[in-house]
Homo-oligomer: 282 residues x 2
């Protein structure tokens, strides 16, 4: 059993809702003596300092990662990948690196080739919000949630345990999946539902929306998520997303057919199967 | 302004969640001296009496509608239509008839040709639950909700006012739409979302569901609705539903194309438009 490891300096790249909440949580749980933020924009860093999410902020990557024992990448997925090359020359020896991205294969593959100076493992905390920005961040975001970690054959086992321990201390139950398993499953249960919500929203005439009921609002709530996060996810997990999308479109084509055929029996059976699966979720 | 009209006898056909809640609400608001239930099954009537949703129950239609001043049909849509012919010979002169169905054109057309003995107007209270059965019914279901009524050129204006008054007294804000307008709009904002939720649910492999997040559960919650209500809605509002479905599938095909093309700009713009519409719902 590892004893609580307190990081002297943790650097968070991207201090929006997720990164900001991480900073707050690390400080609240006493897991980091100092939390440093990196952002392209000084104004974002100023807001994160004001929100007490970070202690110090840098727009310069070299200064930002200097002496960090742990770097956590909390930006959209493509930006995470871009940062690997930017941080690598400046990482302290033995520095741990993880991320909070929603797509793992592309991130892990790039990390394992580009991050020659640090020890990487991929993470995906299963929490978030449609709200953006450090103003909505809070220290308890990770409490009673789950985190998927995606170790590979190349992952250092001590690093795996240390990062698992960190997430656990923040209140998350940690599960391990391979990067590809993760991406396949989350294409189905997260990425695809977002696409459906976006497509539904886009296809409804604005004049009909004033009659929208709570069920509609619940269903499309995730279409309020950050567009720049989701275009990124679509491009970095394209293959699994397209496969999942095709699966649902095939079911919709079947529904279309049986409605045209007025095939009440098949409709009833279809809805009954779906209802049984939905009921099993609880 | 009409004064509060207290019905001596209201008969509710179908005493499940919706019909049962109506019985409870009518009694709580003192709008009916006596509430009678009709069901095919004596056991359903017994449960409704035990739940205090109705005072008396009949499996016999003639006995059930005898002397009723108001008959409310609270069954799935196709069953509503079947009941028009069954109740018509037994209606008291001047009896008002309305329904609580989610589809209106087919109901209203059939009512206006078959209900020669009563005065009909279509209603759609915009409330409900994924829960079924009178055990989940409650008297306050209609409070602070909306009701769409669908008068036509044939609707008696006094009947329209009386039924509007009834729904208003139960706590609903009443809007009027033509039956076809209603069906077009609700195909888009209610029927289509249900089909998407059912199709999504059906397309996800069971082994992926254990990772389902709250967003997924919210989005598919409506797939837990009663299959027999929804096959009915699909068949009675087929044309508008297919049109709405085709609109969303077209948007999904567009998303598919831009993902394959790695067209980040178009993805971002698509998601941004959808987000703006979703944000405008609140």
């Amino acid at each position: 059993m590892l004893r609580t490891h307190i990081f002297r300096r943790v650097t968070i790249v991207g201090v929006g809702f997720m990164g900001g909440s991480l900073g707050m949580a690390l400080k609240k749980q006493g897991l980091a003596r100092e939390v440093v933020g990196i952002s392209l924009h000084q104004e974002t860093l100023d807001r994160a300092i004001k929100a007490q999410a970070i202690d110090l902020g840098f727009t310069d990557v070299r200064e930002g990662v200097a002496n960090a024992e742990l770097v956590v990448l909390a930006t959209p997925v493509q930006t995470i990948i871009e940062y690997f090359s930017l941080i690598n020359p400046h990482l302290r020896r033995g520095c741990l690196v993880t991320d909070m991205g929603s797509v793992k294969s592309e991130v892990v593959i790039k990390a394992e080739s580009l991050l020659t100076a640090g020890f990487f493992i991929g993470s995906h905390p299963l929490t978030g919000s449609e709200k953006n920005g450090v103003e909505h961040a809070h220290a308890d975001l990770f409490q009673n949630t789950r985190c998927i970690m995606t170790p590979t054959a190349k992952t250092n086992p001590v690093v795996k345990e240390k990062i698992k321990f960190l997430w656990t201390k923040l209140g998350m139950r940690v599960d391990f999946l391979s990067p590809d398993e993760h991406d396949k499953i989350f294409a189905q249960i997260s990425h695809l539902p977002h696409l459906l919500a976006y497509a539904l929203m886009e296809s409804i005439p604005p004049e009909s929306l004033r009659h929208a009921l709570q069920g509609f609002k619940d269903l499309t709530r995730i279409a309020s998520s950050s567009p720049s996060v989701w275009d990124d996810i679509c491009l970095t997990n394209a293959q699994h997303i397209l496969h999942a999308l095709d699966g649902t479109v095939k079911q919709l084509a079947f529904l279309r057919k049986v409605i045209i055929q007025r095939d009440q029996k098949n409709l009833f059976q279809f809805f009954t199967r779906a209802k049984e699966k939905q009921d099993s979720l609880h």
